[in-house]
């Protein structure tokens, strides 16, 4: 029983990271109709920025986090302006390919910056645990979940109540009509990317937290946000949260129980499980749990 609760909590923690990344994907997809494959690179650069601010600049972790988010937001907006803006009006598939190019360019930069060592982010939680009876919960997992949910509430309120948030939604809904209301559509694209960058940095801060550290190849962890948003629905913010958490928990549970129940599946099977879920979702409900079904009249 303790093992089950501990496993679920680890899954919720990791799932929150997928959810934050997924939220970045969803915002860019909704706002600009482009699937942003550069998100993992934004995350790893965000992780580096947090690490740089805490260890090289000597800023406390909780000040380094917003600074890194701001820097990553500027980077996101710059990517949009330089690489994606010229693709406006071109097929979205081409724009998605541009983001793949951006991913590799940024990953190279990140590899150079991070070097060969495993870096740490300087988070205050480390390997500390919270003991409730016999259940040992990692504090970092609780922090991930709390901050993850908080990020969703903040982003949700931003889209609902702020002027620019409303304008991003209007742009996502009908660009020409948004223009006719005086919305500067290009600026909204940039803003979407800035949000994605900030969320990438937030997720990055947690990717190496809890005493594990990160290296350039940790960027691939961010790809698990793809199964999360496909499960939740590509254009749904609520879906990103729930999809992220579900994928995290499924992964964690299979890591805990699969070696005992089905050892013939081999070691590290949990690494594959999110993608198996994605395949099944794509087969039976391609628009995900909360996504908009795409109806095409022929």
């Amino acid at each position: 029983m303790e093992a089950l609760i501990e496993s679920i909590m680890r899954g919720l923690g990791q799932g929150s990271v997928y959810a934050m990344l997924g939220l970045g994907f969803v915002i860019v997809y909704k706002g600009t109709e482009v699937v942003n494959f550069a998100q993992p690179a934004l995350m790893i650069l965000g992780a580096f920025l947090v690490s740089w601010f805490t260890f090289d600049a000597g800023v406390p972790f909780f000040a380094a986090l917003p600074l890194a988010m701001l820097a990553a937001a500027l980077l996101g907006a710059a990517i949009e302006r330089i690489a994606l803006r010229p693709m406006v009006g071109q097929p979205v598939f081409s724009a998605a390919m541009v983001t793949v190019g951006v991913f590799f360019a940024l990953l190279t930069v990140a590899t150079r910056l991070i070097g060969t060592d495993i870096r740490r982010t300087g988070d205050p939680w480390g390997l500390d645990v919270l003991l409730i009876g016999d259940v040992r919960l990692f504090q970092v997992d609780i922090a991930k979940l709390v901050i993850g949910v908080l990020a969703f509430l903040v982003v949700g309120a931003y889209f609902k109540y702020s002027r620019s948030g409303l304008a991003i939604r209007a742009t996502a809904s009908d660009q020409e009509t948004a223009l006719a209301q005086g919305v500067k559509v290009g600026r909204m694209f940039g803003l979407s990317w800035a949000l994605a960058g900030a969320l990438g940095a937030l997720a990055g801060a947690f990717i190496g937290a809890g005493g594990v550290g990160f290296e350039p190849i940790s960027a691939l962890v961010a790809l698990k946000a793809l199964p999360a948003i496909i499960l939740g629905g590509l254009d749904s913010i609520k879906g990103a949260l729930i999809g992220g958490l579900v994928i995290g928990v499924i992964e964690s549970l299979s890591r805990t129980y699969q070696p005992g129940i089905a050892p013939w599946l081999g070691a590290n099977f949990d690494q594959v499980v999110p993608y198996l879920v994605m395949l099944i979702v794509l087969m039976i409900r391609p628009y995900g749990l909360f996504g908009t079904p795409e109806i095409e009249r022929v």
């Binding site: 002027r163 409303l166 939604r169 809904s173 009509t177 006719a180 209301q181 005086g182 919305v183 500067k184």
Partner: protein, 261 residues
């Protein structure tokens, strides 16, 4: 006052859709632009609001001035800031927004302090919308959506309101309602350029009318004169002096030739 002089608009670099259109909307008046499908009414509006480039169109010649300042080089957000509000053809409300959000997005360029007062004004003008502030706009009826689209355009306190076929697809009773609302909005101090197919409705409330045919203004007269014009009565109002006659006797081509010469 809006003045358009010798406007030429080209789509896709080759299709000349407006061939030297000139028109004027004086302050505080309602001016009607009539024309059949494909005459070029919507391109006139797109040229005014800076939305041509979205449709691969461009202004080739001519000028558009609002109160003496040229606005034909402005992009769409620029024209909104300059004081032009528009209701696009087919209403184009944000269906997944609530009514309140639809109106607030209309005030995107407006001063934050004016939003609440303008919301009150719109909800007084359209009491139906006030009852449903928090409802999703996609569930409104066609007439209510048209009112919402007009209200959204008014949120930015435009000097000039462009209406593209506000009567499109609405029941006659609702058209009456929209007509009265346009008059009321005009009386509150907004000039209106009304683009319509429903000539009867449009000419009954406007001071001046223009008739557009294949990209040219073929008639430019006070609305009262147009209402009594023999050709307009026949082609746009569907009336003939002798009453119902056989369509065999209608000599479209001869009359049209006289107009265009």
């Amino acid at each position: 006052m809006l003045t358009i002089e010798g406007l030429e608009v080209v789509y896709e670099d080759v299709i000349l859709v407006l061939k030297g259109v000139s028109l004027t909307v004086p302050d505080g008046e309602i001016v009607t632009l009539l024309g059949a499908n494909g005459a070029g009414k919507t391109p006139v509006l797109r040229a005014i609001t800076g939305l041509l480039d979205v449709h691969r169109g461009a202004i080739r010649k001519g000028s558009i001035n609002l109160d003496g300042k040229p606005i034909h080089h402005l992009d769409a957000p620029g024209t909104v800031a300059a004081g032009i509000g528009q209701v696009m053809e087919g209403r184009r409300i944000f269906v997944d927004f609530t009514i309140d959000e639809n109106l607030r997005i209309g005030a995107h360029t407006a001063d934050r302090g004016t939003i609440e007062a303008n919301l009150d004004r719109i909800y007084t003008l359209f009491p139906i919308l006030a009852q449903r502030r928090k409802q999703v706009a996609g569930y409104l009826s066609g007439g209510e959506q048209q009112m919402l689209a007009i209200g959204r355009a008014l949120m930015a306190e435009p000097k000039l309101l462009l209406l593209d076929e506000p009567s499109l697809g609405l029941a006659p009773l609702i058209v009456q309602q929209i007509r009265d609302l346009i008059v009321e909005i005009n009386e509150q101090g907004t000039s209106v350029l009304l683009v319509e197919q429903n000539a009867n409705m449009a000419l009954s409330i406007s001071q001046h009318g223009y008739i557009l045919e294949t990209g040219k203004v073929v008639m430019d007269k006070p609305a009262a004169v147009l209402r009594d014009d023999e050709d307009v009565r026949e082609f746009y109002l569907g009336l003939r002096e002798e009453g119902a006659a056989s369509f065999r006797d209608v000599k479209h081509y001869k009359r049209r030739k006289r107009w265009l010469s």
